[in-house]
């Protein structure tokens, strides 16, 4: 369970989020809203990449402000641009990076890397330079690099925005197949129809929090009003 208690966020004197309170328990949660509404800032609070200016964020009871390491172990994070999150030149090295940070011994690492690459159809690319992969394969590699660390929650910030339709579908299938709780920021509204919960942000505030069709209807109305 992730609890966001009365959280406000101010960056360089600009108020970004205003007194957000939420409890996240569902398995599939989508965050939608227009550009600049605070979605990325919000999800970065969930694994302690940002810490609140006011209020608290608790992940399974651990405060992101004081127990950053434990929180990051529980919450994996997938970014919009796979080019910025693949940090090693060779595919298998990148997947091993998180495991190395966790202190997993080499032999065990090898096997876990194999498993996760196989799951995402990247086993044959194991020894290839990561920059030679297609956009969709790069995003799958980024997801693999996060999942291999076995987090309890996976946060994804617009993971399909830069992809073409085929790759979008592949990545979204991969997300559907996750055993973990997934919290996904997206503009691809058709991908969230079968989610459990959709939260709509506007100017740093939550304007709807409901099942998909109701929340999305409210989102469209708000955008038409503005």
């Amino acid at each position: 369970m992730i609890e966001i208690q009365n959280v406000s966020l101010t960056l360089d004197d600009n108020p970004i989020l205003h007194e957000v309170t939420l409890t996240l328990t569902e398995k599939r949660i989508a965050i939608v809203g227009s550009n600049g509404s605070g979605k990325s800032s919000f999800v970065r609070l969930l694994n302690g990449l940002r810490t609140p200016s006011e209020g608290r964020v608790l992940v399974d009871g651990y405060d992101t402000q004081t127990e950053g390491r434990k929180v990051r172990r529980r919450v994996g994070f997938v970014f919009q641009n796979p080019d910025n999150q693949i940090v090693f030149p060779i595919v298998e090295e990148d997947v091993a990076f998180g495991l190395k940070n966790l202190g997993v011994p080499v032999a065990e690492r090898e096997q876990m890397v194999d498993e996760v690459l196989n799951r995402y159809g990247l086993l044959s690319k194991r020894k290839q330079p990561s920059h030679t992969l297609s956009g969709g394969q790069k995003q799958l590699l980024a997801i693999a690099g996060v999942l291999v660390m076995k987090p309890a929650y996976v946060v994804l910030d617009e993971p399909t925005t830069l992809l073409d339709l085929r790759n979008k579908l592949r990545v979204s299938q991969a997300i559907d197949g996750l055993d973990q709780t997934a919290i996904m920021v997206t503009h691809d509204l058709d991908l969230v129809e079968n989610f459990d919960r959709v939260i709509v942000f506007d100017q740093g505030r939550i304007i709807a929090d409901d099942v998909p069709n109701k929340a999305l209807r409210r989102y469209v109305e708000a955008m038409l009003d503005a």
Binding site: R72, G76, Q85, V87, F88, P89, I90, F97, G98, G145
Partner: protein
């Protein structure tokens, strides 16, 4: 310039990265300490032989040197004007040998092995409290982002040439730098997020 690893089973591929790095450092020291053109030529021949030993074709060797050709031309001209053509030749051969050997190191060593090798070499520093993981991470990031930065500059140049600005250094440098800075913020978040 820094080519990536090429899969292979040669003796050079199997040699420990620490030895290869030492060999490179040793060659550099000898080449610059001994002012003798024949020694440099001998070293050049050895380097090319090592490419053959590693099972790498000559065009690989040529690719290590090609990007530096204009620099070689410049050095040569300056040396001829200030000293002699013999000295110009000596200086160029030295640089060429170093480029060849540095290239050979990256071609025959997986970057992860190189990093592990460097980490092992830096262990004494680690004991003194230096965060050597950061140094090795920085090195792998360099390898990783050379192709990414190349494509950023390429994209910016295309966009600017669509506006007729392909010859303006500023029009290409400024957006490239801004994009790189933005990227670097996200990269550092991504490294944090993966428990480094």
């Amino acid at each position: 310039m820094l080519d990536l690893y090429v899969e292979g089973r040669s003796a050079l591929h199997r040699l420990g990265p620490g030895w290869k790095i030492l060999g490179l450092a040793f060659s550099g020291t000898v080449l610059f300490a001994v002012d003798h053109v024949w020694l440099s030529i001998l070293w050049l021949a050895i380097s090319l032989t090592l490419y053959a030993v590693a099972g790498l074709p000559l065009w690989r060797a040529w690719r290590q040197i090609r990007p530096a050709l204009w620099l070689f031309a410049l050095i040569f001209v300056v040396q001829v004007l200030l000293h002699s053509w013999q000295l110009g030749l000596l200086v160029i051969i030295r640089f060429a040998v170093l480029l060849l050997l540095a290239g050979l190191l990256t071609l025959t060593t997986r970057s992860s092995d190189m990093i592990d090798g460097l980490e092992a070499g830096m262990r004494p520093l680690h004991r003194l409290g230096v965060r050597t993981e950061s140094i090795s991470l920085a090195i792998s990031l360099t390898f990783r982002f050379i192709p990414v930065l190349t494509s950023v500059v390429h994209e910016v140049r295309e966009a600017q040439s669509a506006r007729g600005l392909e010859r303006s250094v500023f029009a290409i440098a400024i957006p490239s730098i801004i994009r790189t800075l933005r990227m670097s913020e996200e990269i550092s978040d991504a490294i944090d997020a993966r428990g480094f």
